[in-house]
């Protein structure tokens, strides 16, 4: 796949001219189902992003620490064990507590529709389920990263 295929009009891609989008992929909580996250890692890389993978079983604190230390644009969280409301919320709260507003958080996994508005209220967007095209996810990350990058530059 070419790196360019996901670039979509309407996003300020010049923001990423010198430094590509940097994404931290993480499966916080105790959940080993990593098929999706490993596919995403490859897809993001093929889309020209810089990808960090936090490995399995990081705590919310570890995820936030890594995101800050590595100065990522986006934290992309995946959970298939049903604990997203508890665990994703912890991450968004930790970021808030540390005054971080230039790292976007997106989610995905087996997330029932009813939970999506609750996550969005916390600023966690996407929340894609199985069967979502990779291009949709890449586009979404790009859009969220461009917001985050604009804030970093302010």
């Amino acid at each position: 796949m070419s790196g360019g295929m996901y670039l979509v009009d309407g996003k300020n891609l010049s923001l990423f001219k010198d430094k590509p989008i940097k994404v931290l992929l993480a499966k916080p909580g105790i959940d080993g189902h990593d098929r999706g996250v490993l596919v995403l890692a490859k897809a993001f890389r093929d889309a020209g992003m810089e990808v960090l993978y936090a490995g399995l079983l990081p705590t919310p604190e570890e995820v936030v620490d890594t995101a800050i230390n590595e100065d990522v644009d986006v934290i992309a969280l995946s959970l298939l064990n049903g604990a997203h409301l508890t665990v994703f919320r912890k991450i968004s709260e930790l970021l808030k507590k540390r005054g971080i507003d230039d790292i976007a958080v997106v989610g995905g996994g087996t997330i029932p529709d009813g939970d999506k508005p609750k996550l969005e209220k916390l600023g966690i967007t996407g929340n894609y389920g199985p069967g979502t095209p990779l291009s949709t996810i890449v586009d979404h990350i790009t859009a969220r990263a461009s917001e985050a990058r604009s804030r970093k530059m302010q």
Partner: protein, 573 residues
Amino acid sequence: MDGVKENYWENKLSEFREASGKKGDRIGKWRKDVLEPWNSRTKYEDREYSNSSSIKIDEIYTSQDLRKNFEDKYLGLPGTYPFTRGIYPNMYRGKLWTMRMFSGFGTPEDTNKRLKYLIEHGESGLSIAFDMPTLYGYDCDNKRADGEVGRCGVNVSSLRDMEDILSGIDLGEVSTSMTINAPAAVLTAMYIAVAKKQGVPLDRISGTVQADILKEYIAQKEWIYPPEAHLRLIRDMMVYCTKNVPKWNYISISGYHIREAGSSAAQELAFTLADGFHYVDMGIDAGLDPAEFAPRLSFFFNSSINFFEEIAKLRAARRIWATVLREKYGVRNERSLYLRFHTQTSGYTLTWQQPLNNIVRTTIEAMAAVLGGTQSLHTNSYDEAWALPSEQAVKVALRTQQIIAEETGIPDTIDPLGGSYYLEWLTDRMEEEAFKYFSEIEKMGGILQAVKTGYIQKEIAATSYRRQIRIEQGKEVMVGVNKYAESNEKPINILRISRRAQKSQLSKLLSVKQERDEKKVMEALSELENALRNPEENSMPYIIRAVESYATLEEISNVGRNVFGGWKEPVLV
């Protein structure tokens, strides 16, 4: 392995090369005279046909695609070596497969109720799913368990929970499969402890724990300690149960998760059997006779959506296991050559979109499992891409099996597709692909090494990514997802797990800790620690004692964490 058998895998591969099916003259002539003119008249668009294992599929197969002496040497008859057609002489006429629906959620009391519901509706074997904290050896009061208690299965923090799950169920009458790996020895010890309390002798209890730790490092990623430590605990369980709990199937060697993690059918077959051979080596090293312990090893395969590929895989698995145990390990007793397996339909093929379509997918996959000769079967529920299954969805899934069993006539004839040129050719190909991997894995220093370096995991990730890209490109179709998709999907009713389970488990754990004899717990744990530090000691009796003192799952696992340490997987991305 002794010298004679040094090039075993290479020699097996040459059997396929000698016999590699060449299309004979008859087909060549038919292609030229009949097929090609037809195709050119009908504006036929040629494309490549292949299955999940990237095996190229022709439009037609004939007897000329089969190996020499194929019927006598490779097919045989049911209940006879190499068991391609089934392990029992009368197969489903003698005994239908066990309809074993995996269930477990919320509190032990919730799960107890669901198990009794399934027994009432004709289910013939219990199967218990555990939640994430239990699978990783954490109690419900661990900080990491917050939000996860009772979500993906039932929570077990101490023996009290196992007592509640099995309350009112006679352990002498049921067989129970427990999907538990890293803490399998502890859960087995709990089951034994409940049987003792019920007064059921240990030689009457029967069941299965998964305890296939190699596939955890490969696919499901639920471990506590480094691989060698887990393998030692499994060895202890093998030795203890072979002597004391003769009907306990202590390892269910699982391809299911390998497949769900993204492998092809051929990779599932190869990596699962390679794990199996490792456990055989381990038993032999522990002084057990493979003819005696091989019957306690069972298998667990996936049945996915490419119908013939799945049937071929299951038949090939049976043939490979029997052949290798006999030829390479010298096992003579026929019953010890049986590959018995449970099958579950594929979760990955279920779509979140248009969920009722999943009933059809599951039906096709269940048929493949039956035509492949499975001993037990779990059919997934149509709502599982959304959440844990609702009661109604579980009932449809169970009814699917009952319809296949009692309405379709499929089980009336043994291996009804045996002798199909295509299926037999494909069975050979699946087997050949597996032998290629066995040979490669041996060159890398064995399966444990291949897992520790991340080779197997990377092979699977590459296959999974390739498939995802093919779906994105429309080269593979998922109905309702990348073709025939609809906007405005309506949400379905799903099972919601409340935090009630967590609350109730927390207060139960507290009362267990208050009621138990703390001194007894401490003694049991410190004796367990000594046993774990001595690799020659069998740890099972110590684990049973600890469990009976109401030491918790996490306390027992922490002893191991101190002795063995943890594990970080190799970098995969």
